[in-house]
């Protein structure tokens, strides 16, 4: 193990916090869908990738300014969310969980293939209109892309927390998630809120795609970010917005520290491995996660 170095550790920590908040943004899309519709979205990473392609494609083909690209990506993902809910997910309501899991896995394959067929395999860049100079923060400096990403995440996480706690739509969605039958009996249009949930996940994925795309570049590898969603949401609890933030922060910090200290020993790849190890421990000890609700099963 390398010598302990305060500067290095601080750098890893702050970097971990930034990355963690950006993970939380993607995980939020997953949580929104699970919270409202009880469906597991295995295509969350592909949503993010597709949004990235939309934004980067708009910039490349139409030379649109950044704000327009972002708007296009958000609009496109909302449309995609509505459409997918109607065509793929709605027929699967009430079917066993494996059907939904497999359908989103199939969806992931379709999105990955379509994106490359439509936009080509090359890596694209999304350039945010921000300066490139690292931002100093005490003893460490931070890349501005990460700072913007973390800020966007925080704003939206706060927004959705408020949304679920206070707004009429949010409360209706919580009711739908709690029990579809009771919600129907109370006069809530369950299908409409399902569609809303997918559209909202589309918005969040679009932001995630822009933020992550500008950091990593847009190609089909961007979808791999989605693999980090599972440790994040399992840690935090599948149906908790706060849980997504806390889970994101834990995963971000742990994987950065692990990568900083263990990568030289084992030859790389710890980043992809440690979050899942952490996740398995949580699954064994507290399957519902830190903030998740324990569900009671009856015959």
């Amino acid at each position: 193990m390398p010598e302990f170095d305060l500067q290095f550790t601080l750098f890893l920590l702050t970097n971990g916090v930034m990355i963690g908040l950006m993970y939380a943004l993607i995980a939020l899309g997953f949580v929104l869908i699970y919270k409202a519709t009880d469906a597991i979205n295995f295509a969350q990473g592909e949503f993010v990738m597709f949004a990235g392609f939309l934004a980067a494609g708009a910039a490349e083909y139409a030379h649109a300014p950044f704000w327009l690209c972002a708007l296009l990506a958000v609009g496109g993902m909302v449309a995609l969310g509505f459409g997918l809910e109607r065509v793929v997910l709605r027929p699967l309501i009430g079917r066993p969980i494996i059907a939904v899991v497999m359908a989103t896995i199939g969806l992931a394959a379709v999105l990955r293939g379509t994106a490359v067929l439509a936009f080509g395999a090359g890596t694209r860049a999304i350039t945010m209109p921000i300066p490139d100079d690292p931002i100093p923060l005490g003893p460490v400096t931070l890349p501005p892309v990460e700072v913007v990403g973390a800020a966007v995440s925080l704003v939206f996480l706060a927004g959705f927390t408020w949304f679920f706690l206070k707004s009429r739509t949010g409360i209706a969605m919580r009711a739908v998630a709690d029990s579809q039958q009771v919600a129907m009996a109370m006069g809530i249009n369950v299908r409409r809120y399902f569609a809303f949930a997918w559209a909202m996940a589309g918005i969040v994925s679009a932001l995630g795609g822009i933020v992550w795309g500008s950091m990593l570049g847009v190609d089909n590898q961007l979808a791999l970010v989605g693999l980090k969603v599972f440790p994040v949401v399992i840690l935090g609890g599948l149906d908790s917005v706060i849980g997504a933030v806390v889970g994101g922060l834990i995963v971000g910090i742990v994987e950065n520290l692990a990568a900083g200290y263990f990568d030289p020993l084992v030859g790389g790849g710890t980043k992809d491995f440690v979050p899942y190890l952490l996740m398995i421990i949580v699954l064994m000890v507290r399957p519902e996660g830190i903030f998740g609700r324990r569900r009671i099963e009856r015959v």
């Binding site: 597991i40 793929v88 027929p91 699967l92 079917r95 066993p96 969980i97 494996i98 059907a99 899991v101 497999m102 359908a103 896995i105 199939g106 969806l107 992931a108 394959a109 379709v110 999105l111 990955r112 293939g113 379509t114 490359v116 067929l117 080509g120 395999a121 693999l227 599972f230 440790p231 399992i234 599948l238 084992v266 030859g267 790849g269 992809d272 491995f273 899942y276 190890l277 996740m279 398995i280 699954l283 064994m284 399957p287 099963e297 009856r298 015959v299």
Partner: protein
């Protein structure tokens, strides 16, 4: 079509559960066996046989996964990892100890079964989506371990060359020899699965799938049987991995990544959950899909795409078709190809007097 059930009366439970439900089934099986074991290797050239070989390998894996997913109802996205455990175990035994296939193959299967049982342990506490995610974790962790522990993978490339197996002193070099070799294991796997699912264990699996709490109440030890399901399924997967590395002559972790797990899940879904025939049909379908896509695009893709883009188009078009078919079957025909086949058969059973 060819047979009528009239005149067949089952008077005991044993007769009802028999492997051959009707006398004619015996003849049908004999005819199929003759066709595939005798006629196919004689009549077909190397290329069709090589495709058949890939299908045979996939059939074993799909049967194993169907035991876990289709019969026991436990979702697993870790088949690829279990295959890699089997493949590397067998490859190590062959390379270091020059073990013959009849030691290396079962050893690979058993090692995979042990790993599978360990991965299955959380299934006591968690189920459904959580279990799916934990098998996904197993997939990634096993892949990482094989790739990074040099003792297993033998370096950065993480690939081990595996010589073809020898049977009765002759090394199997030609396609038809390996075809018969693989066919032996496919028949073994088919008979084993058919017998398993009508045994006490298989019934317990089905009870757990249908309602695990109810199964526990009627006295099934669900932890034990879930572990059985994981172990048996992983055993099949391990054998599949070992067979594949024997056939391809190499064990490489890239053969067993997460997309392979998804391919096998797709076979089980498209073929039909909880059906032996469905596993076979699904394996055939999913194995042929990329071959057919490539063949079609090479023949007529030039009309739509520039030749330079072809290399890019083929795998991605395959992805789109593949994902689209999974969704299509889930939405339109959840019981898969097996159900389609039953519909056809039932139509012709009373044909032409279908009243």
């Amino acid at each position: 079509m060819f047979h009528r059930e009239s005149g067949v009366f089952k008077t005991s439970y044993a007769a009802d559960m028999a492997l051959y439900p009707l006398p004619i089934a015996r003849w049908a099986v004999a005819a199929l066996a003759a066709l595939f074991i005798v006629a196919a290797p004689l009549a077909l050239g190397n290329y069709p046989l090589s495709i058949l070989n890939l299908i045979l390998i996939a059939v074993v894996g799909a049967l194993g996964l169907n035991i876990l997913v289709g019969y026991t109802g436990q979702i697993s996205i870790g088949t690829g990892a279990f295959m890699s455990v089997g493949a590397y175990t067998a490859a190590k035994l062959v390379v270091i100890f020059h073990a013959p296939f009849w030691i290396a193959l079962p050893a690979g299967g058993l090692m995979a079964a042990a790993v599978g049982a360990i991965v299955g342990i959380p299934s006591l506490r968690i189920k459904g989506i959580y279990l799916a995610i934990s098998t996904l974790a197993a997939q990634l962790i096993i892949e990482w371990t094989i790739n990074h522990v040099e003792w297993i993978s033998g370096g950065v490339q993480a690939s081990i060359n595996v010589p073809r197996p020898s049977v009765f002193g002759t090394q199997l070099t030609s396609e038809w020899q390996i075809y018969l070799f693989l066919m032996f294991f496919v028949v073994l796997a088919l008979v084993a699965t058919l017998n398993l699912v009508r045994s006490r264990i298989g019934r317990a699996f089905i009870a757990i799938r249908d309602q695990d709490i109810a199964a526990e109440i009627i006295g099934i030890n669900i932890f034990k049987y879930k572990l059985y399901a994981f172990a048996i399924s992983s055993f099949f997967a391990g054998i599949t991995g070992a067979l594949e590395s024997y056939y391809l002559g190499i064990a490489n972790y890239e053969q067993f990544q997460i997309d392979v797990s998804i391919d096998y899940l797709a076979m089980v879904i498209i073929g039909g959950l909880g059906s032996v025939l469905g596993s076979v049909l699904g394996a055939i379908f999913v194995t042929l899909l990329p071959i057919a896509t490539r063949w079609f695009l090479e023949a007529s893709g030039g009309l739509f795409f520039a030749q330079a883009d072809m290399l890019n188009v083929i795998p991605n078009l395959r992805l789109v078709i593949f994902g689209g078919l999974i969704i299509f079957f889930l939405v339109v025909e959840p019981e898969g190809l097996n159900r389609l086949w039953r519909n056809i058969r039932n139509y012709f059973r009373v044909w032409p007097f279908s009243y």
